[in-house]
C-alpha cells in the first residue's frame, strides 16, 4: 500500500465489498415486505411455488412450463382467485441442477408455499423428494419417470402430471398386437429418458409374446446411427421402436431411410414437437408415435372429454404468446389446475391439499383424464395417449 496503484486497488476492492454488502442487505427487506403484504390484505393470498429447469440443459422443458404457469396465475387472479383468495406464485429456476433444485425447494417451503410444482426433469424432481417428504409439502412433478411417484409408500407427498413411459409403451404394444408384429428392435438414447424407456419396455414385453430381437443405444450427441441400424437390418426385427428426442431422433430417422429399412418405425412421445419433423427433413413421413392429445386437438372427436380443455388452452396460449403450446406446457397446466381444485376444497392446509390431490377423480386435463388413488399418484391411463402418424410433415391421428 505504499504506492498509488495499490491505493487505488484498495479503494476499488473496498467499493466492491460495499456493492456485495449492499446486495446482501437488499435481500432482507424484501422478505419483510412479503410478510407485510400477506398479513395486510383481508383475503390472504395462497402461496404456491414452482421449481423449474428454466435455464441449463432442460430449458426447452422449463420455459414453456414457466410461460404456462404465468399465464394461468394471471388468468386465475383476474377472475378473483380461489374462493376470493388470490394466488401468489413464486417461480424458481434450478438451472437444471439437482443441488440447486433442493435449495430452491427449501426456500419455497421456508417462504410458506402450500405446495410445490416441478421440477421439469426427472433428476431435478428426484432430488427434491426427500425435502418434500420430510417437510410434508405436496409436490407435483412435471417429469415423466415413473420412479418419481413409485413406490407410493415412500412418495406420500409426491404426484406427477406427465404420462409414465409405461402408458406410451402399452399404447405401442396394443398396436403391435393388433398388427401381429412380435419381433421388435429397440433403439434408445443413452440418457435418463432412453434408460427409462428401456426399463419400461423390457418389463412390458415380458409374457406378452413379443420379443426384443435387437437392442442398440446411441449417445444424445451422436451424428450418425447407421451402425446401429445396420445391425437392426441384419436382425429379424419386424418393427423398430426408438426412445429418443431430437436432434438424435431426427438423425436416426434420416439414417433409417438411408440404410433402406422398410419395416415400420415407431418413435416415443419424446419426438412430439415440430422440431423433430423439421430436423428429419422429410424422412419423418410414415413414422408412428404415441403422443398426448394436445398436438392433434383439432382431429380428436367432439365426444372426447378433453377436446374443450385442449382447445381453450391452445386459444389462451396462442393469444398470449403467439405460438402453439406443447406438451410440457400441458404438464404445467395440469399440475396448476390440479392444485387449484385441491386448494378450493382444502384451503391453505398442506395435509388437506395432499389428501384432496390423492382423491382426484375424473379431472379433465391436457395430458389426459386424471384418476388418482393412494397407489397411483399419476392417475393417467392408456386413454390419455393417441397414436399418430407423420403425414406430409403433419401429425395425423390414426385409430
Amino acid at each position: 500500500m505504499k504506492n498509488m496503484s495499490k491505493g487505488l486497488k484498495r479503494r476499488l476492492g473496498l467499493a466492491l465489498l460495499l456493492v456485495i454488502s449492499l446486495l446482501i442487505s437488499a435481500c432482507s427487506p424484501t422478505k419483510e415486505a412479503d410478510v407485510k403484504s400477506t398479513t395486510a390484505s383481508a383475503n390472504e393470498p395462497y402461496k404456491i411455488g414452482a421449481v423449474l429447469d428454466i435455464s441449463g440443459n432442460s430449458s426447452s422443458l422449463g420455459v414453456p412450463e414457466r410461460d404456462t404457469l404465468l399465464m394461468m396465475v394471471e388468468k386465475l387472479n383476474s377472475e378473483g382467485g380461489i374462493n376470493g383468495h388470490p394466488v401468489d406464485l413464486t417461480i424458481m429456476d434450478n438451472k437444471s441442477d439437482e443441488t440447486e433444485s433442493v435449495l430452491a425447494a427449501k426456500t419455497l417451503i421456508e417462504k410458506g408455499s402450500l405446495a410445490i410444482l416441478g421440477a421439469s426433469s426427472s433428476g431435478t424432481s428426484m432430488a427434491m423428494i426427500k425435502t418434500v417428504e420430510s417437510e410434508k409439502v405436496p409436490m407435483i412433478s412435471l417429469a415423466a419417470a415413473s420412479s418419481i411417484v413409485e413406490p407410493t409408500s415412500d412418495r406420500k407427498w409426491v404426484f406427477k402430471t406427465a404420462q409414465s413411459d409405461i402408458v406410451m409403451i402399452n399404447k405401442i404394444i396394443s398396436y403391435l398386437k393388433k398388427n401381429d408384429l412380435n419381433k421388435i428392435a429397440f433403439l434408445y438414447m443413452n440418457n435418463s429418458y432412453g434408460d427409462n424407456g428401456k426399463k419400461a419396455i423390457t418389463a412390458a414385453v415380458k409374457d406378452s409374446g413379443i420379443s426384443i430381437v435387437a437392442e442398440e443405444k446411441f449417445d444424445a450427441n451422436d451424428k450418425d446411427m447407421t451402425p446401429q441400424l445396420s445391425k437392426v437390418k441384419a436382425s429379424e426385427a419386424q418393427v423398430v421402436i426408438v426412445w429418443a428426442i431430437p436432434p438424435s431422433a431426427s438423425i436416426l430417422t434420416k439414417n433409417f431411410k438411408d440404410v433402406g429399412l422398410t419395416i415400420p418405425l415407431i418413435h416415443s412421445h419424446g419426438v412430439g414437437n415440430q422440431k423433430f419433423i423439421e430436423l428429419a427433413q422429410g424422412a419423418a413421413d410414415g413414422t408412428l408415435l404415441p403422443i398426448g392429445k394436445l398436438s392433434v386437438a383439432q382431429q380428436i372427436t367432439d365426444a372426447d372429454p378433453q377436446k374443450k380443455v385442449l382447445e381453450s388452452y391452445i386459444a389462451d396460449y396462442v393469444k398470449k404468446y403467439n405460438s402453439e403450446p406443447n406438451s410440457f406446457g400441458g404438464y404445467a397446466w395440469d399440475a396448476f389446475n390440479l392444485l387449484v381444485s385441491a386448494l378450493e376444497k382444502a384451503g391453505p392446509d398442506r395435509e388437506a391439499i395432499r389428501g384432496e390431490l390423492e382423491k382426484t377423480q375424473g379431472f379433465v386435463g391436457i395430458s389426459g383424464v386424471f384418476n388418482m388413488s393412494p397407489e397411483d399418484h399419476n392417475g393417467l391411463k392408456e386413454d390419455s395417449a393417441v397414436l399418430v402418424k407423420v403425414d406430409q410433415g403433419k401429425w395425423k391421428l390414426i385409430e
Binding site: 486497488k9 484498495r10 476499488l12 476492492g13 473496498l14 466492491l16 465489498l17 456485495i20 446486495l23 446482501i24 437488499a26 435481500c27 424484501t30 428454466i54 435455464s55 441449463g56 414457466r66 424458481m92 429456476d93 434450478n94 438451472k95 441442477d97 439437482e98 443441488t99 440447486e100 433442493v102 435449495l103 430452491a104 427449501k106 426456500t107 417451503i109 421456508e110 426427472s122 433428476g123 428426484m126 432430488a127 423428494i129 426427500k130 425435502t131 420430510s134 417437510e135 419417470a145 420412479s147 415412500d154 443413452n190 440418457n191 435418463s192 432412453g194 434408460d195 427409462n196
Partner: protein, 326 residues
C-alpha cells in the same frame, strides 16, 4: 498449538453455535451445501495452493464417494457410518493408484490428465447399468446414522458436517504449520529446489493428491446421505471447474481461502436468485449467470490473490500465507 493461533477457529466455533437459534431449514441446507463443498475444496486447496498441483477431476472423487455410499447402503445394506468411511477411503486408494503415474506430469499436462480422469469416471457412472442406476441415478439412500443418532433433519446434518469441517480445518491448520506443510510449499515454489533441499517431491505430491481425494470422497458420501438421491449429473466436469473456482476465489495457498471460496460461490448463487428477479422482473437463471460471471471477474481483477487477502483491510488474520523458509 497456541491459543492465539486458533483465534479464527474459535471464532468459527462460535459462528457454528449462533445459527442454532435460527429456525430456518433453508439456511441450514445452504450451510450444509457450503460445508460439503468446503470439505472438497479444503483438500483441493492443499493440492493446488500448497503442493502447486492442479486438478480438474475432483468432481470424480466427489462422485465416487457419493456412489460408494449409495451403492453400499442400498444394494448391500451396509451400515451407513461404515459406508461413509468407505466413501472416503475408496477414492483415496484410487487416487494413490492413479496419482503415481499422473503426478509425474506437470502443469497443463496434469490438468489434462485429471480432466480426462474426471470425464472417464462420469462415463462409468452413466454406463454402470444396474449397479449405478445408469443415467437415472439411484434413490432411497437411507439417513446417516451414528450410534443411536439418525441425521434425519437439516439442523442435525448441519451440526454434523460443520463439526467434521472444523476437525478438518484443525487438521489442516496443523498440517500446513508442520514440516510437511513447509515442504509442500517448497514444491509449489520450485520443485527442483525442493528436490535439492532433500524433499521427496513425488511422495509428498502423491500424499497431497490422496488426501484431497479422500476429503472429496467424504464430502461425496455426505452429499449422498443428505440428498438421498444421486445421479451422474452433479459430478460432471462443470463441478470440477466449480471446485477449482472456489479455491482460486478464496485465495491459493491460504488457510481460510478454501472455506471463504465455498461460502462466496454458494451464497452468491443463492443471493442472485433472490435479487436478480427483483432488479429485472421476469429474469431467469441466464441473467443470474451473467451477473455471477461479472462479479467473479471483478473479484479476480481487484483481488487476484483471492478473497482472503481482503482480510488485511480489516486487519483480520485471514491471510496466513506460508513462506518456504524452514
Amino acid at each position: 498449538m497456541h491459543l492465539k493461533n486458533h483465534k479464527g477457529l474459535i471464532l468459527l466455533l462460535f459462528l457454528l453455535v449462533i445459527p442454532l437459534k435460527i429456525d430456518s431449514n433453508y439456511l441450514y441446507s445452504t450451510l450444509v451445501v457450503i460445508a460439503i463443498y468446503s470439505i472438497v475444496v479444503q483438500g483441493l486447496g492443499i493440492l493446488m495452493g500448497y503442493a502447486g498441483q492442479v486438478s480438474f477431476g475432483h468432481a470424480a472423487f466427489f462422485g465416487l464417494g457419493g456412489y460408494t455410499a449409495a451403492i453400499l447402503t442400498t444394494r448391500f445394506n451396509w451400515p451407513t457410518l461404515i459406508a461413509l468411511l468407505a466413501a472416503a477411503i475408496l477414492p483415496g486408494i484410487l487416487a494413490a493408484i492413479i496419482g503415481r503415474q499422473t503426478l509425474k506430469l506437470r502443469e497443463l499436462y496434469l490438468a489434462l490428465a485429471t480432466l480426462g480422469f474426471g470425464i472417464l469416471v462420469h462415463i462409468i457412472f452413466n454406463e454402470g447399468g444396474e449397479l449405478t442406476g445408469g443415467p437415472s441415478g439411484m434413490s432411497g439412500i437411507p439417513n446417516l446414522t451414528i450410534g443411536t443418532i439418525s441425521f434425519d433433519n437439516d439442523q442435525k446434518f448441519y451440526l454434523l458436517v460443520w463439526f467434521m469441517l472444523l476437525l478438518i480445518l484443525i487438521g489442516i491448520y496443523n498440517l500446513v504449520h508442520s514440516r510437511t506443510g513447509r515442504a509442500l510449499c517448497s514444491i509449489r515454489e520450485s520443485e527442483y529446489a525442493a528436490e535439492n533441499a532433500g524433499v521427496d517431491c513425488a511422495r509428498l505430491k502423491l500424499q497431497a493428491f490422496t488426501f484431497s481425494a479422500l476429503l472429496a470422497g467424504l464430502a461425496g458420501g455426505l452429499y449422498a446421505f443428505y440428498v438421498s438421491f444421486i445421479s451422474p449429473s452433479p459430478f460432471s466436469f462443470h463441478t470440477s471447474v466449480q471446485f477449482v473456482l472456489m479455491v482460486v476465489i478464496g485465495g491459493l495457498g491460504t488457510f481460510w481461502g478454501p472455506l471463504l471460496g465455498a461460502v462466496v460461490v454458494v451464497s452468491l448463487n443463492e443471493l442472485l436468485r433472490e435479487i436478480v428477479p427483483l432488479l429485472i422482473p421476469g429474469a431467469g437463471g441466464e441473467y443470474q449467470i451473467i451477473i455471477y460471471g461479472i462479479i467473479l471477474v471483478g473479484l479476480m481483477i481487484f483481488q487476484p490473490k483471492g478473497l482472503s487477502s481482503i482480510g488485511r483491510y480489516f486487519r483480520l488474520p485471514l491471510k496466513k500465507e506460508l513462506k518456504p523458509e524452514g
